[in-house]
Subunit: 587 residues, 2 copies
Amino acid sequence: MSEYHFPRRDAQFVLNHVVDFSRICNSLKQDELDSGLIDAILDEAARFAHQVLAPLNQVGDQQGATITQSGVQETPGFKDAYQQFTEGGWSSLAGEPEFGGQGLPRTLSTVVMEIWQSANMSFSLCSLLTQGAIEAVTVHASDELKSIFLQKMVSGEWTATMNLTEPDAGSDLAAIQTKAMSEADHYRISGQKIFITWGDHQMTDNIVHLVLARLPDAPEGVRGISLFIVPKFIVNTDGSPGRRNDAKAVSIEHKLGIHGSPTCTMSYGEHEGAIGYLVGEPHTGLACMFTMMNDARQGVGLQGVAISERAYQHALSYAKERIQGVMRDGSRVAIVHHPDVRRMLMLMKSGTEAMRALAYVAASESDKLTAASERNKPLHQARLDLYTPVVKGWMTELAQELTSLGVQIQGGMGYIEETGAAQFFRDARILPIYEGTTGIQGLDLVGRKILMNKGESVNALLNEIADEFKTLRVSEELASVLKTAIDTEQQVRDGVDWLLNHKDEASAVGVNLMMSLGYLCGAWLMLRSAAKALALSVDESEDHEFLTAKQVSARFYGEHFLPRVAMHLQTMKTGSAAIMALDVEQF
Amino acid sequence: MSEYHFPRRDAQFVLNHVVDFSRICNSLKQDELDSGLIDAILDEAARFAHQVLAPLNQVGDQQGATITQSGVQETPGFKDAYQQFTEGGWSSLAGEPEFGGQGLPRTLSTVVMEIWQSANMSFSLCSLLTQGAIEAVTVHASDELKSIFLQKMVSGEWTATMNLTEPDAGSDLAAIQTKAMSEADHYRISGQKIFITWGDHQMTDNIVHLVLARLPDAPEGVRGISLFIVPKFIVNTDGSPGRRNDAKAVSIEHKLGIHGSPTCTMSYGEHEGAIGYLVGEPHTGLACMFTMMNDARQGVGLQGVAISERAYQHALSYAKERIQGVMRDGSRVAIVHHPDVRRMLMLMKSGTEAMRALAYVAASESDKLTAASERNKPLHQARLDLYTPVVKGWMTELAQELTSLGVQIQGGMGYIEETGAAQFFRDARILPIYEGTTGIQGLDLVGRKILMNKGESVNALLNEIADEFKTLRVSEELASVLKTAIDTEQQVRDGVDWLLNHKDEASAVGVNLMMSLGYLCGAWLMLRSAAKALALSVDESEDHEFLTAKQVSARFYGEHFLPRVAMHLQTMKTGSAAIMALDVEQF
């Protein structure tokens, strides 16, 4: 069984020196959130993750959820862990105080969410999706619905699900067929939803399903979708769960990974129709869905960081212990001393650090949006919107490579299930698929986030990166990396210009552009980290081992990841015609 | 359950137009091997793979090998399939006629081997390793040992295993501790071996274990290893299997994939010592092992092609059937029409084709070696030696990406085990690990294959590539790809020069150089294919759909894979210092 330790030094370095979290707290008027309180929260989360959640990770893999006559039975131990989780107040960390939440800044709750996802991704997926649902209900639901559901969702007393996909409607929500019929003060929902994460379990006494469906008078396509709250148990007037709704999980999937997270086929309205409540106006489900989805996409990107970190810790521990081969002096050594193993560990380490920095920076943009004046809000909203497909797409793709390296470092032992490396690799494979595939992220980036505003928001980011590069003071070893990064930023800018002039090819090139932007953002923040580390190292009280390592990590990133940007851009510019050149019959 | 169809057109195109197989047959004086006979062999292999082996692939995954008191029990159906396999003469295809083999050229047996590995990798791994053992026994064993064992190995009546790895000796064979003590006309072997593929089963009435062990007077390190034949059952004087030897499988591994292939921990000499027979001279086990290993490495590289082909067929079939999204005219379409899905399919298609071409070209080098005059043999041996780490390393790494795309194309359905995409992804994950990890291939390339001969053999290959590029006539659409390829060849040449001037960094940069050489070789053969396809298209009787597709595939390869060469080389040249810059404690 593998342990998990919160990478405190790196996370706090990013919080303090990359994100400038104290300034965010000031702007949010959360001055009580001093370093002592932050430390206490992170310490306690790290302890809970280490002692309770992480040990259940392999249990979830080996004793995944099952389905019985009375519904889905989660992994043994999960219910107790969930109870401790909510009792510890962890569910309500980011929730609004009005509904019982602790109102912590998004940046900080993101650090804590990384901890949960590293410790036990299957378990923590339940909270991740509940967060998205909370966001949607907070923004779009009526006060009445909020008063019934929101407090219990925030406290974690009830969990929530997102019901989008149907057998004929995966990435294409226009094809949704689930029906909603008006009846008295509610609706009757009927239809089948698939791939519903944590669609059923016995950990809480109710589950709040958010379900996309069509009203009878709905226009065709995505403009005819409405969002409904469909509770597993109808809520009594006193707020307690009452009789069973006509909604249930009918089967669960046998998946490559995340066995601890039940993926359900949900059946609504097999009998009289499931009772549901409209969220927001009719036919505005798509907007509600995007609120949920954007939140979840940031969360899934963060899962990419989290599982890479866990896989890295696992591989590192093996590499330090596994004796293999001899040095020139004849002494036998651990494989961590072999250059190619070291190369792989450094890929894992620096790749994970770069992702973490971007995940926290993207989260901090949420806080900046909250704190911003009305005049500045659109700028922060645009930046956040721009980050979302990069965080989701780039990070989850990079997590594939890093978790695979985690297996590779352990050689034959990595391929044996008992050692645990394979679980991270299998679990990670869902990340570029759910909450919008990598292809969808690419489309979102080039379409909604670049072409729709004529490149304005991406160029604003590129300007900021270019300006910062000009001011960074880095060590001599990093000078050439910084120079390469400056050139690379210009290449990405040219790539964006190319896109603006080749709109017809947008759908073929999205993924390559998204990957190049991701790698550039990673370099930007790793270089910022290196510059801060250099500046801090004049102070004798600082942790110099760490500050040196941070600079090495940035250099390695620049040398091993940054060259990928030019590769993706070259492919983007030359490679779209050949993509569609074959007739389907020629395959 | 997914079907497998032999990609006849592409395989035959490579045979006829990339490898020039008829010339190879001539040089081997195998003129009876005309196109009619070749067709008949491939037809029959394709039929057997389609009807018998492929349907057992998912069975092997779901009902993997088990271990009981009486040994390892293979997947239901495998024994019958194996019997049909040997009765059909498939085991003996490449064997020497002197020992009952059919003496087919290596190039052709490689095409057939691709078919087996695509249809059922776990099942066919048994034959692949038996081939390596046959090679070692043929080259190194005494006539007496050959007369006892070789014919039955060639016929497939007995299978064979390779016993290298021990708990403390994985990639590092110097650490082998298994002992061999001389006794009368044989030896007594004792020790434990792990990760022994097909170490036990009930498909045949004997198993020939090839075991590395140390004699009492052996020098330390790899120069003190000897190779022994240790049969599961001692062979009677009449050649039949007699009493049980003191050798058995004590456990099997629970693995990420290839469940149908039992991976055994073997115990030799728990009682009186297992009876073994020395192969070759004492202390020359390393050379024998390399004969086996080089053969197996080419085979594993071919598995990379094979499983990518299978994953591609599976994903393509899904992409053609799965309706999702609408065209501008409002009609609903299969996902194969979406540009990003098409991009992924083209990556799978062109990547697999490039690997196939290199696998067959490398195999043809074996045939050229056989046919060569004594004077020319060293050249062909050097080329074959050079190809081996590229075939093993590059192809198995590329197979990771392509089988992962196979999952990605199928989205959520790809993550569900029943659909089968995940099995290819899981099975493929062993390929960069067994028979020498990717790191080991990188070391082999830069050390034994480049530095040891001062770059002579790699420069001979690069010269050949450069010369051929000058003569190729390609279509207008491919002109810029050819130009890029010419530049890229020069970059690889510069990379080799860089290596020759930076010998101390060799161990850190092997993988990056190996990958860049692999991608270049792929471009070389895809461009050769495109030029041949263009030349052939003047002939009206040719399959023009295919010839056009071949050129599109080459173009796509050049645009989407070739830019990776520069990326790997840039990383190689700049990135070795940062690899080792951290102290172990700083991780």
